[in-house]
Each structure stands twice: as structure tokens, then as C-alpha cells.
């Protein structure tokens, strides 16, 4: 299932991506995540299952460990995104996207543990770019429920080398996989220009543009994840 062409393009090393490029990618992936539930339950589950299979291929050690854990559900809740992820660990490993708020409440209630924080921090944490204890000490991350479960999940994911979730997600999203390395290479100048232009705009217009951007990202072919 792994496209050899894609495998090449995602091996771009992260240090190339500047901090601003990272912010842009974070915004992009958050917008993408927001769209997942809109695909409908079946399509979104299928997409996330595909993502899990791809991650399992790339990170076999971590996924074997996740499957070896006792059956349990962790709700990963970005406080600034419209969607939360419910991850089931254990033999029935799976991932579901739940809209935050009314719709998701029932299922989220079944979670054994909840990790809550800003989307960007959660992404950094999942990719092992930041230390979870430090985030916790700074109160940027809050956890509730089964602490041992969260710790096991954190340690398992942190034990992985070079998780690059944005690239992994992009790689199942067709054309985005080819755009991402180019974006990362040129991130500095391009983002400079975008940001300079944006600063000149009055706030309502700026917000309007952000919405349009989010929509453009959403309409890139196959970029729903």
C-alpha cells in the first residue's frame, strides 16, 4: 500500500522546516483534521484506518507495543480544533475522529483517559519534539482518567524515532505529498511574503482570508486528512 514515490518525498528532514513553516503545517493539518468528520463516519474511519496502517508500517516497534497494551480508549482533545481523536489501544487498535461538542460526547464519555492541550503542542508531543512532562509542569497539557494508560501511550510513541505525522498524513493525501517538501524547502521566503501581506490587512479581512485558506486546504484533492 506504500507508494514508493511518496516514501521518497516524505523523507525530508524536519530541521529544514523553519519554525514558521512548522506553524503553517500545523495550521494546515489542523484544518485538515477538522474536515475529517465531514466525510461521514464510514469514510472518515476508513481514512484513519489507512493512516494507522501507514504509521504501523513505518513504526512497527511502537505499533506492536500499542497492540500489546490492554484494550483501552484515550481521547486526544485539541482544545483549539473542532475535532477530537479517540484512540483505541490494544488488539483492536483504531482511531476515530469525533466532532468536539454535542456529537462526540457519548463516545468520548467511553474514554478511559483524556489528554487535552493546544493542537500544536499535542502534535509536537505525538512526534516526540517536546517533552510531555515539561508540558505538564507548565500546565499546557492536562490529563485525566487512567494516568498509567497515558504514560504507556506517551512512552511508546516517544520511543519512536523521527515521527513526522504531518508528512505521514500528507503521504496518504496524494498531491499534498509532493507539495510538502517543496513547501518546506521554500517555507522561509514564501511565508515571509504571506505574513507581510497579511499584516497589512485590517483584522476582519485577515480573518476572512484565513477562512479562505482553510477552505483551499480542504479542497486540495485528497487532502482531507
Amino acid at each position: 500500500m506504500r507508494d514508493p514515490d511518496v516514501a521518497q518525498t516524505v523523507s525530508v528532514s524536519n530541521p529544514l522546516a523553519g519554525e514558521r513553516a512548522r506553524r503553517f503545517e500545523t495550521g494546515l493539518s489542523r484544518a485538515g483534521l477538522g474536515l475529517v468528520p465531514r466525510l461521514g463516519r464510514r469514510a472518515s474511519d476508513a481514512l484513519l484506518a489507512r493512516l494507522l496502517r501507514l504509521l504501523a508500517d513505518r513504526h512497527p516497534r511502537a505499533f506492536e507495543a500499542l497492540r500489546g497494551m490492554p484494550d483501552a480508549r484515550v481521547l486526544i482533545e485539541p482544545v483549539d480544533a473542532p475535532v477530537a481523536l479517540l484512540m483505541r489501544v490494544g488488539p483492536e487498535l483504531s482511531l476515530h475522529a469525533l466532532p468536539r461538542g454535542a456529537d462526540g460526547v457519548g463516545e468520548a464519555g467511553a474514554a478511559d483517559a483524556v489528554v487535552r492541550g493546544p493542537y500544536a503542542r499535542l502534535l509536537d508531543l505525538l512526534e516526540g519534539r517536546i517533552d510531555g512532562d515539561a508540558l505538564f509542569f507548565r500546565r499546557e497539557l492536562s490529563i485525566s482518567g487512567d494516568t498509567a494508560l497515558i504514560l504507556a501511550l506517551r512512552n511508546t510513541l516517544d520511543g519512536e524515532e523521527e515521527m513526522d505525522l504531518v508528512a505521514d498524513v500528507a503521504s496518504i493525501a496524494g498531491p499534498l505529498a509532493r507539495v510538502l517538501p517543496v513547501l518546506r524547502r521554500n517555507a522561509g521566503p514564501v511565508l515571509d511574503r504571506i505574513e507581510a501581506a497579511r499584516r497589512l490587512l485590517p483584522p476582519p479581512l485577515r480573518r476572512g482570508i484565513e477562512r479562505v485558506e482553510a477552505r483551499i486546504i480542504g479542497t486540495l484533492p485528497g487532502s482531507g486528512a
Binding site: 516526540g128 517533552d131 515539561a134 509542569f137 498509567a148 504514560l151 512512552n155
Partner: protein, 332 residues
């Protein structure tokens, strides 16, 4: 004058590679069971992981130490002895142990295996250290975090084995290996099961804007809105002293601060310390990379006779505050 050795923690293979790449001289780690004092879910190394770790580290001239530093339970020596045998078979550079019975076993079975005395043995005086050296051939002692720098200097003047001291990370302020607070609250102890405040007994609750941490049903701290949080260890809990006392909760033993002795490198060198240890096998690889890199930079400046740079590690520490701990403490 020899340079300090920098001894760095790893809880996962990725953390080990981060430590090696960031400039560790040796990395210490544990097997995935109760034979070491960081027996946390999802953490630590399988036998195969250790074999790979040794290959990776040795190829870069970095040593690997295995901590087998809990106390075997009566009638169940198997896991501990097997850990020692496997460590020897996997060609690790040293094992870090506390239990005299296990030290005797290792000395007899594996005479070539280098033995380090764990901080868990709490050997803090000349007689104790000499006993471990003479009886088991221990080559290095990790000093408990309760000594001042002058005490360390005095000790080093009288012993002829290497000393290793903690310079960064979480503080376990009691004489190590002797704390029963966690056993009292949960039935599980750092000394036997390898866990202080085992995660399955820890719960966090949001109480309005405040965050409460509980251990075995006891509330051990409530962090106000915006206040930095700490580990759910009893020694760093905030309690109301005295039955029925109406006073405000206060830290009775120790505040949630972190050790950072980077400013004491000249004093530690003058005191004859051989190796500097960073705490944190439970921490993520981002912490390991940042702290090890900072210490490597500091040690290079120090070795070259340049002033030790001030490197900001504030973002990494528990409670958001740092201390030089017992090293410079006036009260005892």
C-alpha cells in the same frame, strides 16, 4: 586533570540515540521490569533493545550501563539474577546495583563485569563505601543526593574508588533506598517494585481552574490556576500539618524543584568527582537531547578553561524552579 564523564538517562531506544548523539559519555538504562527503579508503563528496554543500544553506543565510543537497582524480593531472586546474567552477556560496560546479595552474585558469576553502586544503596560514608569495594570489587559509587560539596570532597580524599554525583533533574530528597512514603500510600515502593508514585495509583482532577493530584486516594497537591505543576510524589506534596489544623497547606518535606548543579562544576571538580549524572529515564527524548547537549557544551567550556555558559533549561524542570540541592545547603 581528567575530564568529567557525562552519564545520561534513557528510557527508550530513541532516547538512547538522542543521548549518544547529544554528547553522552555513557548512557544508563533498565530492563522492562521491576529490576530497576524506573519501572513505568511503556518505558525501558527489552533484551534485544539493549543489544541494539550497545551496538549503537559502542560504535560511537559511548558506554552503556544497566541499572538493576531495586531490591530482590525474598523467595524471588530469579528476575534480578537473570538481569545480571543478561547484562553481562549483552556486553554492557557496567551494572548499577544496590542490593548486597545481588552484588555478591554478580561479583562471583561475572568477575569481569564492572560494578557501580547505585544511589539506591545510599552509601554516604567512608566505611560503607570501603565495605562495598573490598567485598564486591565495586569500582564506582553514585552518591546519594544528601551530601554537601565539602562532604563529597572529604569523602573522596579518603576513598580510592570513583564517585558519580547527580547534577540535573528531579530530586529524591530522602536518603535513597530508604523512603517508604510511596509504599505507605499505594503498597508499591521504589525500592522493591521500582516505582515511586506508581502511575496506576495517580489521578489528576481539574477542580475549577486548579489541578489536583492524588495518589492512592490521598490528595497530595493542588496547583492553583497558572501555577507550575510537579510530579505526584509524596515528598513534594502540600499538606496541612497537625490534626485539625486550620493552616494553609504547605510543602512539608521538599518543594517541587529540580536540581541543576551546572554552576558548581569547579567545586565538584575540586572535590574529586569523576562522573556527573543526569536524572530522567522517565522523560521524553526531547528533554534528553536538550539537557545532554547543554551539559556537553558546559563541560567543553569548563575543560577548555572558559567560563561555563549560562544555558537556560528552565523550560524542562519540575515546578519551574531550580536548585543546587544539598550540595550548597546550609541546614542539615
Amino acid at each position: 586533570m581528567d575530564n568529567f564523564e557525562l552519564i545520561c538517562p534513557a528510557g527508550t531506544p530513541a532516547a538512547l540515540r538522542a543521548a549518544v548523539d547529544a554528547g553522552a559519555d555513557a548512557v544508563y538504562l533498565g530492563f522492562r521490569d521491576e529490576t530497576n527503579a524506573r519501572n513505568f508503563p511503556g518505558l525501558n528496554f527489552t533484551r534485544q533493545d539493549v543489544a541494539d543500544a550497545v551496538d549503537y553506543a559502542h560504535a560511537r565510543r559511548v558506554e552503556v550501563y544497566v541499572a538493576i537497582n531495586t531490591y530482590p524480593q525474598a523467595g524471588n531472586l530469579g528476575p534480578w539474577q537473570k538481569a545480571v546474567d543478561d547484562a553481562a552477556r549483552l556486553r554492557v560496560d557496567a551494572v548499577i546495583m544496590a542490593d548486597p546479595g545481588l552484588l555478591a552474585y554478580a561479583a562471583k558469576r561475572h568477575p569481569d563485569l564492572r560494578l557501580h553502586l547505585s544511589v539506591q544503596a545510599s552509601a554516604a560514608n567512608v566505611e560503607a563505601i570501603r565495605l562495598y569495594r573490598d567485598t564486591f570489587g565495586v569500582r564506582r559509587v553514585v552518591l546519594p543526593r544528601v551530601l554537601t560539596v565539602p562532604e563529597i570532597a572529604k569523602l573522596n580524599a579518603e576513598i580510592d574508588i570513583e564517585t558519580e554525583v547527580f547534577v540535573f533533574g528531579g530530586l529524591c530528597p530522602m536518603a535513597e533506598g530508604r523512603c517508604s512514603l510511596s509504599s505507605y500510600a499505594t503498597g508499591l515502593s521504589p525500592n522493591k517494585q521500582g516505582v515511586c508514585s506508581p502511575a496506576n495509583h495517580v489521578r489528576y482532577e481539574q477542580r475549577g481552574g486548579a489541578l489536583a493530584s492524588t495518589l492512592g486516594g490521598f490528595t497530595i497537591n493542588v496547583f492553583g490556576e497558572g501555577e507550575q505543576a510537579g510530579y505526584p510524589t509524596l515528598c513534594k506534596g502540600r499538606f496541612v500539618a497537625g490534626a485539625g489544623a486550620g493552616g494553609a497547606p504547605a510543602y512539608l518535606f521538599e518543594e517541587p524543584t529540580s536540581l541543576n548543579a551546572m554552576d558548581l562544576l569547579p567545586e565538584l571538580k575540586a572535590a574529586g568527582v569523576r562522573a556527573l549524572k543526569i536524572e530522567g529515564r522517565q522523560r521524553g527524548k526531547a528533554y534528553i537531547a536538550a539537557v545532554v547537549r547543554a551539559y556537553r557544551e558546559a563541560l567543553e567550556s569548563f575543560a577548555a578553561g572558559r567560563p561555563v555558559p549560562h544555558i537556560d533549561l528552565q523550560a524542562m524542570v519540575e515546578g519551574g524552579t531550580q536548585t543546587t540541592g544539598a550540595y550548597t545547603r546550609a541546614w542539615r
